[in-house]
């Protein structure tokens, strides 16, 4: 017992890391199947997409990169899957992060977009547009003035889908997937200037910021980190990486709470002992 306490005292960090690893790894290998409750914010996004009609245009912006892919990429795939199930809905993918087009192409491959829909008729990938908010403003004001070609160099004029899409007025919804302030760009440039409905898929740390906009009715919904993605996977009945990870996340949260209680109990005991 003394030896164990000695190990804990000297290597407590490593012990915590090991416990955390186990709490995450075990449910990933042997899933428990804990229920995934659906939040209002997720339902907001789902209902909006569910309500899209043939001919509506959905712009899917992203700043996904290696650093945030674990949180946002599962959301991105779930949303694209849902959009591609809707007949006649036109999807425009655009990146305002340098790595975004790579992840967009990977996601399109994962949902077999090129096999089930026609490129240029049902969806278009515009690629990365440099210039941060100026790029989003340009895209909302006049797409053709900003871009002449798509991600793979095909002229926009040759893509039938883009014939009647010129400004943000032609976008029915915008969904942006990001970890940084660039979600604000779409609010500033598409929602404020053209009244386009905007929703977000965000990393957990950005969620409290976005709640202010959600509560004020400025955005129609938020997908919150991996849990938002898991909820969406459940809603569209396509369980994937996120739904699988929710058991692990719940167990890790329990571990955190247990550690908080334990550490405080130890602290109080030692403090009383000293007294």
């Amino acid at each position: 017992m003394m030896a164990f306490r000695d190990i804990l005292r000297r290597n407590y960090k490593q012990v915590i890391y090991l416990a955390l690893f186990l709490s995450l790894a075990v449910p990933l290998i042997y899933p428990i199947g804990l229920p995934v409750p659906i939040q209002r914010t997720t339902m907001g996004v789902y209902n909006k997409i569910e309500g899209l009609k043939p001919g509506d245009v959905a712009v899917v912006g992203s700043n996904i990169g290696a650093a945030i892919y674990a949180e946002v990429y599962p959301q991105y795939i779930a949303i694209l899957e849902h959009l591609f199930r809707k007949d006649g809905v036109k999807v425009i993918l655009v990146g305002h992060g340098q790595e975004a087009p790579i992840w967009a192409e990977r996601a399109l491959g994962e949902i077999n977009a090129y096999g089930r829909k026609t490129y240029g008729v049902d969806f278009v990938h515009l690629g990365y547009i440099a210039g941060e908010e100026a790029a989003v403003a340009g895209l909302c004001r006049d797409i053709r003035a900003l871009l002449k070609v798509d991600y793979k160099g095909r002229a926009l004029a040759d893509l039938p889908m883009m014939k009647n899409i010129n400004t943000a007025k032609d976008f029915t919804i915008v969904l942006d997937f990001t970890a940084s302030a660039d979600s604000q760009y779409w609010l500033n440039q598409a929602y404020a200037a053209y009244g386009t409905a905007v929703g977000f898929g965000l990393t957990a740390i950005k969620v409290p910021d976005a709640y202010a906009y959600y509560t004020a009715g400025q955005i129609f919904g938020i997908l919150e980190s991996l849990s938002g993605a898991a909820q969406y996977e459940v809603l569209i009945r396509r369980p994937g990486m996120a739904a699988k990870g929710m058991d692990a996340q719940s167990l890790a949260h329990l571990l955190y709470v247990a550690l908080l209680v334990l550490c405080n109990a130890f602290f109080i005991r030692e403090w009383r002992g000293k007294k």
Binding site: A25, A193, Y213, A216
Partner: protein, 232 residues
């Protein structure tokens, strides 16, 4: 059956992920190699993309402008020059040139965002707070906004007149920060889960026990070394 190229890339990525995670044990050369490779690859990718962007968005337009005599195309030389000016930040004699570019960037950024920012962050938020009080969440939202704003009233008499409301505002702010912190933890965990999900695939997961064994062996050797040092 996985093709050899995919398997190789999977094994390399798994090795690098595990190398990065060894920092949880202690600082070591495997972590350093992994860290440098990640930074190098990210910077390399960013530089290549930046060069392509300059080529596609400006250089080609200047080229075609010169070829056709189109002034609008040739004018793209101006933003390119302004971009070059930014590097004069490092030369004290010509630093004023960098300031021109920075001032222009700030002005354009501000002009673009100010309209939306006011509409979204000021007018929209006030409208949101004054929306009909249809439910408990709306009432809580309104009380939270008012109390949090009152917390930042530093005029003594006004603050005193507000009674306990600024204190409630302080608790609202603390709750918000707690939500931020809890979300940060959730986000970090999601990243680890995403990484582990990519590790728990065949044949990548075979490398996990190997990494554990190496760490255990290192810990054992170090412990033995420190014991013999003490004995010596």
């Amino acid at each position: 059956m996985m093709d050899p190229a995919t398997m190789l890339s999977l094994l390399i990525s798994t090795t690098l992920i595990l190398a990065i995670y060894t920092i949880l044990y202690r600082e070591n050369p495997a972590f350093r190699i992994g860290e440098h490779l990640v930074v190098g690859a990210t910077v390399g990718h960013a530089v290549v993309l930046a060069v392509f962007q300059i080529r596609d968005l400006a250089w080609r337009k200047v080229e075609s402008g010169i070829a056709t005599g189109n002034i609008a195309g040739i004018a793209y030389i101006i933003p390119m020059l302004l971009g070059v000016f930014l590097y004069f930040q490092f030369a004290s004699k010509y630093r004023f040139l960098a300031r021109v570019s920075i001032a222009l960037m700030l002005a354009v950024g501000l002009a673009l965002s100010i309209r939306g920012l006011i509409f979204v962050n000021v007018i929209g938020q006030i409208q949101g707070a004054l929306a009909p009080l249809t439910g408990i969440d709306r009432i809580a939202y309104l009380i939270g906004v008012v109390c949090a704003l009152l917390y930042f009233v530093y005029e003594r008499r006004a603050s005193r007149a507000a009674g306990p409301l600024p204190k409630i505002g302080r608790y609202v702010l603390m709750l918000t920060m707690g939500a931020y912190f809890a979300n940060t933890i959730m986000g970090r965990l999601s990243i680890v889960i995403g990484t582990l999900t990519s590790l728990f695939v065949d044949p990548a997961w075979y490398l996990i026990p190997v990494a554990f064994l190496i760490i255990c062996a290192d810990a054992f050797i170090r412990r033995k070394g420190s014991k013999s040092e003490k004995a010596g």
